[in-house]
């Protein structure tokens, strides 16, 4: 390829952008942990982390103690703790895969966000273009492809630990992933059917396209509630969150796949799990909650300047944050399913439901297509 300074600049920008994204997602993951602890505590009548403080910051009147009470610095302490903990590797593990597993778990979680649009910016002309690392035409397929790699981390951890509980955790995890990915994929087909305009050049599988289709119109959540529900449930299963946390399942499997992990390796698993949640929430926001767009049927009220960009990103983050809260909320509301229940829900409830949903929307879209006035 010919050397092009423009390309170099683009590349540099992308790298910078990528680091920022990783930083942002990691930070969000860290604060999800804090949120999890805080919300858990509140729901249980407790206070939650309120002890960590940075020197000097702590001494700022009012604000210092407020931040301390919120546990703002807790993720920092947690991360440092993981770093400084003694590195213990049990003697019986398969070392190569044992070390590999946490990385394999983290990388897909971070990779999926490259195709995630999270806002838009306006040029001088006031035209908007989406904020995204890589605006893939097949964004959603990329997400499916990459995020399902995450299970390899868990399976690898379970297998390489050479111990019963992790092994069981790994097995369960892989079975669960396969079971729910099917329903998840099927639940999204009607969405793309709905969005794509027959004969149009714009790819129906582009996430940017999905977001813009919801601008100043109904959110897909309202148009396709069943799809949204199935996707949400499958999302819980995919992220191994309660009530589907089969691989971890501390009541029957001690710690599940990460039983034999400690210190920073465990920390990576931990971050990966929350990164999954963050990314999952972001995807749900993108597809069903109109991304950075304001509210259904209401045009974005913010100006077409950089202020609007920031407000859009903020609005996107707010929706994502609510979903993260929803994840935690569900955790303390619904008890864990039994393993057989998980399987049965996936195969006998969600999959048929998704199929029926698909057929209904295929018929609906076909009918609508034949009626020109009703074209979306």
């Amino acid at each position: 390829m010919e050397f092009n300074p423009e390309m170099l600049l683009q590349l540099g920008l992308k790298v910078l952008f990528a680091f920022t994204m990783v930083g942002a997602v990691m930070t969000m993951a860290g604060y999800s942990v804090l949120a999890e602890r805080k919300v858990s505590a509140w729901m249980q009548g407790r206070v939650g982390p309120n002890r960590t403080a940075l020197p000097f910051v702590e001494n700022i009147p009012f604000i210092g103690s407020f931040l301390k009470g919120l546990g703002i610095f807790q993720p920092l302490a947690d991360g440092l703790k993981f770093l400084f903990k003694e590195e213990i590797v049990p003697g019986h593990v398969n070392k190569v895969y044992y070390y590999m597993a946490p990385l394999v778990a983290l990388v897909p979680a971070l990779t999926t966000m490259t195709v995630l649009p999270f806002g838009q910016y306006y040029d001088e002309a006031g035209n908007s273009s989406p904020l995204i690392l890589a605006n893939l035409e097949v964004g959603i397929l990329f997400i499916f492809a990459v995020s399902s790699l995450g299970v390899y981390g868990i399976v690898l951890a379970g297998w390489s630990s050479n111990s019963k509980y992790p092994f069981l955790g790994g097995i369960r995890s892989s079975a669960q992933m396969i079971s729910y990915e099917l329903a998840m994929g099927l639940s999204l087909l009607p969405v793309f059917l709905w969005v794509s305009v027959p004969g149009s050049e714009a790819s129906a599988l582009s996430l940017v396209g999905i977001v813009s289709s919801q601008n100043d119109s109904a959110w897909l959540l309202l148009i396709q509630p069943v799809s949204a529900l199935i996707f949400l449930i499958a999302l819980f299963a995919e992220t191994n969150r309660l009530p589907f946390d089969m691989p971890e399942s501390e009541t029957d499997l001690v710690g599940g796949f990460h039983t034999e992990y400690g210190s920073f390796k465990f920390g990576i698993f931990f971050v990966a799990e929350y990164a999954h949640i963050v990314v999952g929430s972001a995807i749900f926001t993108t597809i069903f909650l109109g991304g950075w767009h304001f509210l259904p049927w209401i045009a974005d009220p913010w100006p077409a300047t950089w202020v609007g960009t920031l407000l859009g990103i903020g609005w996107f983050l707010a929706k994502t944050a609510f979903l993260i809260f929803f994840f935690i909320w569900i955790r303390w509301t619904i008890p864990r399913f039994r393993y057989d229940q998980v399987m049965s829900i996936g195969w006998t409830k969600l999959l048929p439901l998704a199929l029926i949903n698909l057929i209904v929307y295929v018929l609906l879209v076909t009918w609508l297509d034949q009626t020109p006035s009703a074209t979306p």
Binding site: W42, M43, W329, T333, I334
Partner: protein
């Protein structure tokens, strides 16, 4: 014997079978819990109000006259489930006029707080009411040896407790007075 009554279970309605309404109810409950008053005690600043029968660190106590009560019967050592207690028995020297009639006292008395499970069996079994689980609950140390409380430490922790029996004093009185025919 109670008679077993089999209750017919009502079949679930469709909405109930999706469980979604129930989940929504549950979500409401958990959400409302977030705004209730918190039960947490901010420990180092706020100390808990200990109940009367609180079982803290086991200690040895003196009688109101400041004399050792333990007679090293070793019942606590025997009953201790984690074998945390170790007593070296000894006798009270006959020169000890105030206590020679008790005859027996521990030479050494050790409670390993790394083993102790605070079950209180030792207090329950003690025939002399010499060992008590008092309200000390935070014991700490830098080495394993520090966590083994010896006799001096145990008496320091226990101090003197009121006692209405004066069992051995009565014996002493009878001995001094004598009551031969």
């Amino acid at each position: 014997m109670a008679k077993t009554v089999v209750l017919e279970r009502k079949p679930l309605s469709l909405s109930e079978r999706t469980y979604l309404p129930q989940i929504v109810t549950g979500l409401k409950t958990t959400f409302s819990n977030m705004f209730k008053e918190k039960a947490t005690l901010q420990y180092p600043e706020e100390k808990p109000q200990l109940p009367q029968n609180y079982r803290g660190v086991p200690t040895l106590v003196n009688d109101p006259n400041g004399r050792e009560k333990c007679v090293s019967c070793q019942l606590c050592e025997f009953v201790c489930p984690p074998k945390a207690i170790r007593i070296t028995p000894g006798s009270v020297p006959e020169e000890d006029e105030d206590r020679e009639h008790v005859e027996k006292a521990p030479q050494e008395f050790e409670i390993n707080m790394l083993r102790c499970i605070y079950c209180g069996y030792c207090q329950e079994v003690c025939p002399e009411e010499a060992i008590f689980l008092l309200d000390e609950y935070s014991s700490s140390g830098y080495t394993r040896e520090e966590m083994i409380n010896n006799k001096a430490k145990l008496y320091e922790l226990g101090g003197t407790l009121p006692d209405k029996h004066y069992k051995w004093d009565k014996k002493k009185d009878a001995e001094v007075e004598g009551n031969a025919h």
